[in-house]
Homo-oligomer: 265 residues x 2
């Protein structure tokens, strides 16, 4: 039986402007903080993406490819700082809205092997949740048992956290309205899928895997959707909402009817 | 047999102005970064104190006393942010001087019981050191098995790290020249002790414990000295240098003759 715990994932493309390096969407972060404070949902853990922080420096030094030589080390160090800088912005904003938000650096306690989390020690997170504190994690540059180091996505952290903590729901705040039947920009008959089952998602992922065009078409939801499959298999529901449209995150957190997509196990 | 690893502890009173909240000594941090870069000592891990960051907010909310009620939660969250802010300043400065410095949040992987570190997982730190990266830890507000939460000092982290990593030396950069025979401000016959043994330190600590006046007299070195006793017992040498005086840290890191105090196991 899942517990009343929500893992909220704030997409990097929601909280930053991905077209410019180090461009935090300060107003959006403020509004989302307000909606989270208003929802007053406890217990909750937050995970955010890296967006335009870290991405350019990580790409420049091929951090996600793993350790290739000492020439990457300064790039690795700078990537870590960039991730931390965005996390500080987000956590400061949450605190200024009255949320007892506590930054938790993923790379300080998570190791991957070939990019996948090896084991997730939830001891400290459970202690934070037990005191009504809200842990705030993020996509980070982590040490990897096989590759030396790599990039760990916020999506993978959110899915693994949900499973390890036996959460009832993951709320994904993204920059699109939800999962569509086709690309609404290209196909006027495209419809937002209000509710779907894991089985339907599996078919979609399979289709996406076979047809890369479709992957693009659904608004690059492939990675996010794929990461959530493991959580769904473990009984976690997924709510996908547009974090750029005011009020939708609040509705989703309050578990009211909301514009977006619910994926049930 | 100890390995050629140095744990460098930068005192909070060296890198901040303790008389004012959130007053980083930016110039000193820059100069120390330069000396560390110049020494080019590897492998090395750095730990810094909290100084005027975090101290006032932690004191206001009695964070070191442990969890007393939900009224402390925002204070706990703010203390964490303050610690992280100072750490970001220090790590940014080290990076800007060409050191591949990697921030490592202690509260993300260390739990205490009644203020003492329960177990120290060095897996990630070893991986960082193995890649010639320089982990930068700091005094932090951590979860505690008995007290709910508390403050963990940079001094305790430095001593425990030195033992767990089998380091050869701890270098303590403090705001005094070293350990004196008496308070040089009160006693003109006071002499800087260039070299001492654990046995002599034990006597001094015992004396300090019995006579609080003496504790003040040695420049509030009691806490720092007491924390290092466990490291000394495990074969770690301690070098105490004045971080406020240019060049002394460099000399100590290069293991040359330096003005300060060496304490041998």
């Amino acid at each position: 039986m899942a517990r009343e715990l929500v893992i909220l994932k704030l997409g990097g493309s929601v909280i930053t402007d991905k077209s410019k390096p180090f461009a935090a969407s300060v107003e959006t972060i403020g509004r989302l903080s307000e909606e989270i404070a208003h929802a007053n949902f406890k217990p909750m853990a937050i995970v955010h993406g890296g967006g335009s922080f870290g991405h350019s420096v990580a790409a420049e030094h091929r951090i996600s490819k793993g350790y290739e030589g000492s020439g990457q080390l300064m790039g690795f160090a700078k990537t870590r700082q960039a991730m931390m800088q965005l996390n500080k912005l987000v956590t400061d904003s949450l605190i200024s809205h009255g949320i007892a938000a506590v930054s938790l650096q993923p790379s300080a306690f998570i190791i991957t092997a070939n990019g996948r989390i090896v084991d997730l020690n939830t001891n400290i997170i459970e202690k934070l949740l037990g005191k009504d504190l809200v842990p705030v994690l993020y996509g980070d540059a982590v040490m990897d048992e096989k590759m030396g180091f790599t990039i760990l996505s916020g999506d993978q952290i959110a899915a693994r956290l949900a499973i390890a903590l036996n959460a009832s729901r993951i709320v994904l705040a993204v920059d699109v309205d939800g999962v569509y039947t086709a690309d609404p920009k290209l196909d006027s008959s495209a419809k937002l899928i209000g509710e779907m089952r894991l089985r339907e998602l599996r078919e979609l992922v399979k289709e996406l895997g076979e047809n890369r065009k479709v992957a693009d078409v659904t608004g690059q939801m492939l990675g996010k959707i794929e990461e959530t499959v493991s959580a769904l298999e473990n009984g976690v529901s997924i709510a996908v909402v547009n974090g750029l449209k005011p009020g939708r995150l609040l509705q989703a957190l309050k578990n009211r009817r909301f514009i977006g997509t619910i994926i049930r196990p």
